[in-house]
């Protein structure tokens, strides 16, 4: 997955493609439907439109019943089960194991900012290629220097 992700990294070509897709409603819609099907099959994607899979070990945090973006809640069972749906495994436990196994454990230390609920249903691939996802989370664990929760928002006039 990590290798596949490198193939999708934004570049001028993807940006042009994203702009072309967004230019017509039907093209955008069709592309979004394809994305939805692919990501639903692979990750149980909920189409929040602001995908963090690359930094959550490719386990989708929006499948957590509390939609936690910053790690597991305190109710994970001793057997690793979700407290709300005991038949399923905690998605954050899956994220932790996958990220650790791939040597990307530090990804989970990044602080994930609150999501924009206007973006539900949008294509996160288009948003990603257009650079709209760049401030979804901090670069590191935020312990060394204070990170701003809303880099864009805080610059707005009061």
């Amino acid at each position: 997955m990590y290798r596949l992700h490198r193939l999708l990294q934004p570049n001028a070509g993807y940006r042009r493609l994203a702009t072309w897709l967004e230019a017509r409603r039907w093209r955008n819609r069709l592309f979004t439907i394809v994305e939805e099907h692919v990501k639903d099959d692979m990750f149980g994607c909920r189409m929040c439109g602001q995908c963090v899979l690359p930094v959550t070990g490719y386990a989708c945090p929006m499948t957590c019943p509390k939609q936690l973006r910053n790690g597991p809640c305190g109710g994970v069972g001793q057997d690793g089960s979700c407290e709300v749906y005991p038949a399923t495994r905690c998605v954050w436990l899956v994220a932790y194991e996958r990220a650790e196994n791939a040597g990307n454990g530090r990804d989970l230390l990044r602080l994930q900012r609150p999501i924009d609920h206007r973006r539900w249903g949008q294509s996160s691939w288009i948003n990603y290629w257009q650079g709209r996802d760049e401030s979804l989370c901090t670069e590191d664990d935020g312990l060394a220097r204070t990170a701003s929760i809303s880099p864009a928002g805080l610059q707005r006039p009061g």
Binding site: K66, C73, G74, G75, E83, D141, L143, I149
Partner: protein, 337 residues
């Protein structure tokens, strides 16, 4: 009588000590082993219940947590309980969960708490409604606990809302978080606390500690991350008062781990003595936790048995501070550990 307009000085006048609002924070800053306790607001329109539960704890604890519809069961609001607590001269820690409110309501609640003089806020994700008395309710979880801590710190330190709008004047609370050292993935738990510290947590209260060696491993990881220097860590404790309570904790409360040896010890005494054994075990746990480097104090959760908290603390070797001492209400100790 409730004095809402100027609760800080009112509290100080009652106790003859420093104003209530800063008491918890200064207790932790002083390095004294600090005790907090949990009080659940009533299900019913009766303010007296809070007063009855908080009053006996006054000399024993630095602050009292007032829960926010704990276990997703409807009760009196935590802000109301916090104001009642403040009015009898005890510093409240207002719990605030992400379960029932979106970011507009959460920030409004935080602002209101500051305006009413509630000095301490404990931010948590909250139990899922599925466990409560309204299992059919809509779970909100617009923000998670890290994001809400981050938003609260931004409100206080940058004087801004999430929208970027300016707060004038900004609020001034002491911000806390929770962590469960025993839930999988256990090796991520200290790091998760690190995220909360990075987001703004100045103190943390943990889930019940029944397994002290496992808690020591968590503390070692927290020390490696340098967390005790940046955030006061209070270990959660509580007495198991009956075989039924034990079974409930083992099977019905998410995220609580009771080791087999603890269960065996409680079940090995006759049923009428289980409560005393639970109290003794809790006191022993406190005494052991007190020896651990980096542990700033304990948070006693004795839901429904708040009246036994002074006894537990006394058995653990702690003593109440005399009312006129500057350390009054710090849960300070007369002897050295």
């Amino acid at each position: 009588m409730i004095q809402l307009d100027n609760p800080g000085p009112a509290g100080a006048a009652l106790r003859g000590t420093k104003p209530v609002p800063g008491r918890f924070q200064s207790a932790l800053a002083s390095g004294a082993f600090t005790v907090t306790a949990e009080v659940g607001p009533p299900r019913g329109a009766d303010a007296e219940v809070i007063r009855r539960k908080v009053q006996p704890l006054r000399d024993w604890v630095a602050a009292v947590n007032v829960t926010d519809n704990q276990s997703a069961v409807v009760r009196l609001a935590s802000w109301a309980g916090s104001l009642l607590t403040l009015a009898i001269g005890v510093a409240p820690i207002m719990q605030l969960t992400c379960r029932d409110r979106n970011r507009i309501a959460l920030q409004s609640e935080l602002l209101s708490a500051a305006a009413m003089g509630i000095p301490n806020i404990l931010i948590m994700t909250g139990d899922h409604p599925r466990f409560g008395d309204h299992a059919d309710a809509k779970p909100v979880f617009d923000l998670d606990s890290v994001q809400l801590l981050w938003a609260a710190r931004t409100m206080r330190d940058d004087g801004r809302l999430l929208s970027g709008r300016v707060l004038d004047p900004p609020p001034t609370w002491f911000l806390g978080a929770v962590e469960n050292p025993f839930a999988p993935p256990v090796n991520f738990r200290a790091a998760r606390l690190g995220k909360k510290v990075a987001a703004g947590a100045q103190f943390v209260q943990t889930q019940y500690v029944f397994d002290v060696p496992a808690f020591e491993r968590f503390m070692a990881q927290a020390r490696d991350l340098g967390l005790p220097g940046r955030c006061h860590i209070l270990a959660g404790v509580g007495p198991i008062m009956s075989a039924r309570a034990l079974s409930h904790l083992q099977h019905a409360v998410p995220g609580v781990h009771v080791p087999d040896e603890v269960a065996r010890r409680l079940l090995s005494v006759p049923a009428e003595r289980t409560a005393d054994a639970g109290v003794a075990l809790c006191a022993e746990t406190i005494a052991r936790l007190r020896q651990l480097p980096g542990v700033a104090g304990v948070h006693v959760m004795a839901v429904g048995n708040e009246q036994r908290i002074p006894e537990i603390l006394q058995l653990a070797g702690l003593s109440p501070a005399p009312p006129d001492s500057p350390c009054a209400g710090l849960g300070g100790s007369s002897d050295t550990p």
